[in-house]
């Protein structure tokens, strides 16, 4: 993680999801913030500086109970924090005060940032801020982060953060742990049956957690009630829209429109228009000749070392050209759409809409997140399966991702290749892939023992996202993706250059040709795409656009390549996340399916 020196005063931002925490955080740290992964998880922690002090943002959580990776990360960062800025949504005070109470009970110095005051005003909600501050025992500052109101008042008030009044009924329990726990925080964690803390002090669970939570919940509710006055109860546009999107009649068409918009933006605008420019004109047009010239000035062309750096698969040619020229615009476009959807509050509604259907294949609505991410990058999506509760669900989601979901690198080329062929061919492609998806999911649901876990999610208000926040998220996600991809590509460059020079590559392709043309009825040159597709998905499909193929052959090729094994990066992640048996089974299945279904299509059409 990052180094926390002893003199370094740390201010930690904590709050529920969707309270606008990042917007407030950004107001403190500006553009310069460092993102890192928490202790080998996918949880991202953002850190920056404000007036010489370290400021850390934590993932939005409902409580610090260690139910998932986000909560564990948030908890550890909060424990190490000197001051906690608790961002709270004024419109959902009752919900948010649970975490506030937990932070206060932990004995931390807290200051509450009451955000979204502008929305509260619009909904005629009045909050007695002074009374709330008195009852909690900590300063409460009203803010409207999007409108940039109240931020300076918040900044000036930071030093006055204080330890609030703990929940009265906890006093006897705290007394009991006085001699056992080193800090008040540890004492609270012990009381709440936190496994790690129990182990640290060799204590057994007291079973008090549910009681404490229920009381805290009641206290939060009565606190919120006591300081809030809601004049009107009318449902505003945002609420009505939110509910409309949940009803299948409107929700499904809206979802389909949304998906079409994403595919159009990623698959056409980014993958074709922008990528043609960045890869074609800039990279291939200027960069490649430029770098080949430079390298050939030092190392004679035709030699191994020249090939390694500037050859067809060169580390300084293939890697930057593909990563910056092709992948970067695609991935940026995808993350732009995703960040917009996340901030708008639509994604939990998609989860609700699809929960019924997903439970038929052993998943619940939350699995929609990895599945959507898969359309951006299957590797990243596989890692995100960690948010699913049971191992069974993770296996099913990973299998579906590895076998059926095409990533952004492929989508562009697939759309480009299939659209000219007309509606029927596109429909057959979508139908075939969807059928494999449903069949795989249903089969796995039957075969694997156990059931799916329950859906329990909160639906945030629908909002128009803040452009600055969306752009910042897009930038940071694209940046980390590109840095990781570059690593894999560099390794790929080395492997491919070696294989190419030793004749190994030709050997593999020759061996593959009879399979590709025999089973799939494709021209022999297509074998190259399949072999390359093992390394990176976009290598696979890209090469196909240069080969002359009939419409039927194009359809078979695109379908087969979509189902074909996941790229090397994904394979590595699958092996890391799942057991060896599961990973091998998934890899083999996609290999078999690609040729089985492709061959079937070739035969039937």
């Amino acid at each position: 993680m990052f180094n926390k020196s002893e003199n370094n005063f740390t201010i930690v931002f904590a709050g529920n999801p969707n309270v606008g925490k990042s917007v407030v955080f950004n107001a403190f740290t500006g553009m310069y913030a460092e993102v890192s992964n928490f202790a080998g998880t996918t949880v991202e922690i953002t850190a920056g500086k404000w007036r010489g002090k370290t400021v850390i943002d934590t993932p939005g959580v409902y409580g610090i109970s260690g139910f998932n990776d986000e909560e564990l990360a948030a908890r550890d960062v909060i424990i190490g924090g000197d001051i906690i800025v608790n961002v709270v949504d004024a419109v959902h005070l009752s919900r948010d005060l649970f975490l506030t109470r937990q932070l206060i009970d932990m004995g931390k110095r807290v200051i509450v940032c009451l955000n979204m005051m502008d929305e509260a005003e619009r909904l005629d909600i009045e909050i007695n801020v002074n009374l709330l501050s008195k009852r909690l025992g900590v300063p409460v500052i009203s803010v409207s982060a999007l409108k940039k109101r109240g931020i300076s008042a918040l900044m000036e008030a930071i030093p006055s953060a204080s330890c609030g009044r703990i929940m009265p009924s906890l006093a006897p329990a705290f007394k009991k742990y006085e001699n056992i726990a080193k800090t008040q925080t540890d004492a609270l964690l012990l009381m709440e049956d936190d496994p790690q803390t129990l182990k640290k002090y060799s204590q057994s669970a007291s079973g008090l957690r549910e009681k404490i939570y229920a009381e805290r919940r009641r206290l939060a509710d009565s606190l919120a009630c006591g300081v809030t006055e809601r004049q009107s109860k009318k449902a505003d546009f945002s609420e009505r829209l939110g509910r409309l999107l949940l009803r299948p009649v409107f929700g499904f068409p809206a979802l389909i429109l949304c998906l079409i918009a994403i595919f159009w933006f990623v698959g056409y605008i980014a993958a074709q228009l922008v990528a043609d420019f960045t890869r074609g004109v800039i990279m291939e047009g200027f960069y490649r000749p430029f770098i080949v010239d430079i390298i050939s000035g030092f190392i004679p062309s035709g030699t191994f070392w020249n090939d390694l750096f500037a050859g067809e698969f060169g580390m300084l040619t293939m890697t930057p050209i593909c990563v910056l020229g092709l992948l970067a615009p695609l991935v940026a476009a995808f993350y732009l759409m995703l960040s917009f959807l996340e901030d708008s509050g639509y994604i939990p509604r998609i989860a609700v809409l699809l929960d019924r259907s997903l439970s038929k294949i052993g998943l619940n609505g939350r699995a929609i997140i990895p599945l959507i991410l898969g359309f951006g990058c299957v590797t990243a999506a596989t890692v995100s399966t960690r948010l699913l509760s049971t191992r069974r669900e993770k296996v099913i989601a990973t299998a579906l991702l590895g076998i059926t979901i095409p990533c952004s690198a492929q989508i562009g080329i697939i759309i480009g290749a299939l659209t000219p062929l007309g509606f029927t061919y596109c429909a057959i492609y979508v139908f075939t892939i969807s059928a494999v998806f449903v069949l795989t999911g249903t089969a796995l649901n039957r075969i694997l023992p156990g059931g799916s876990s329950d859906l329990l999610i909160e639906l945030p208000r629908m909002r128009l996202p803040s452009a600055a926040n969306v752009l910042k998220k897009t930038y940071s996600k694209t940046k980390s993706f590109i840095s990781e991809a570059a690593g894999v590509f560099l390794i790929g460059s080395v492997i491919l250059t070696v294989l190419n020079r030793t004749g190994g590559l030709d050997f593999i392709i020759n061996a593959a040709e009879p399979v590709v043309s025999g089973i799939l009825g494709l021209p022999r040159e297509a074998a190259y795409s399949f072999v390359m597709g093992i390394l990176r998905r976009d290598f696979g499909v890209a090469g196909l656009s240069d080969i002359a193929m009939s419409p039927k052959q194009t359809l078979v090729a695109m379908t087969s390549l979509t189902l074909f094994v996941p790229c090397i990066a994904s394979v590595l992640v699958i092996f890391k996340e799942r057991s060896k048996t599961e990973a091998i089974a998934i890899w083999l299945s996609s290999f078999v399916f690609a040729f089985l279904i492709g061959g079937l299509l070739a035969y039937v059409l």
């Binding site: 409580g63 139910f67 919900r95 229920a214 009641r218 929960d355 999610i457």
Partner: protein, 71 residues
């Protein structure tokens, strides 16, 4: 009766929720014994959408089957 038997616009009180982690998470979202709520939407064989204290929460069908309520 069970939560998944509720109809749209009906108000109810929660009698019991499951134990364990799911129960603790439910409490945090406002679903606990004696809490009052209203059903906003009901998807057939699907999730139940509740309004608890101004907060909208979706409960999956199988979980709703394990929560006892009274109208």
């Amino acid at each position: 009766m069970k939560l998944n038997e509720i109809n749209k616009n009906e108000r109810f009180t929660i009698i019991s929720i499951p134990d364990g982690e799911v129960g603790a998470q439910a409490i945090r979202l406002g679903i606990f014994k004696n809490a009052k709520a209203e059903c906003i939407l009901r998807i057939e064989n699907g999730p139940v959408l509740l309004n608890i204290n101004g907060q909208e929460v979706a409960v999956g069908n199988s979980l709703a089957d394990k929560i006892e309520i009274s109208i």
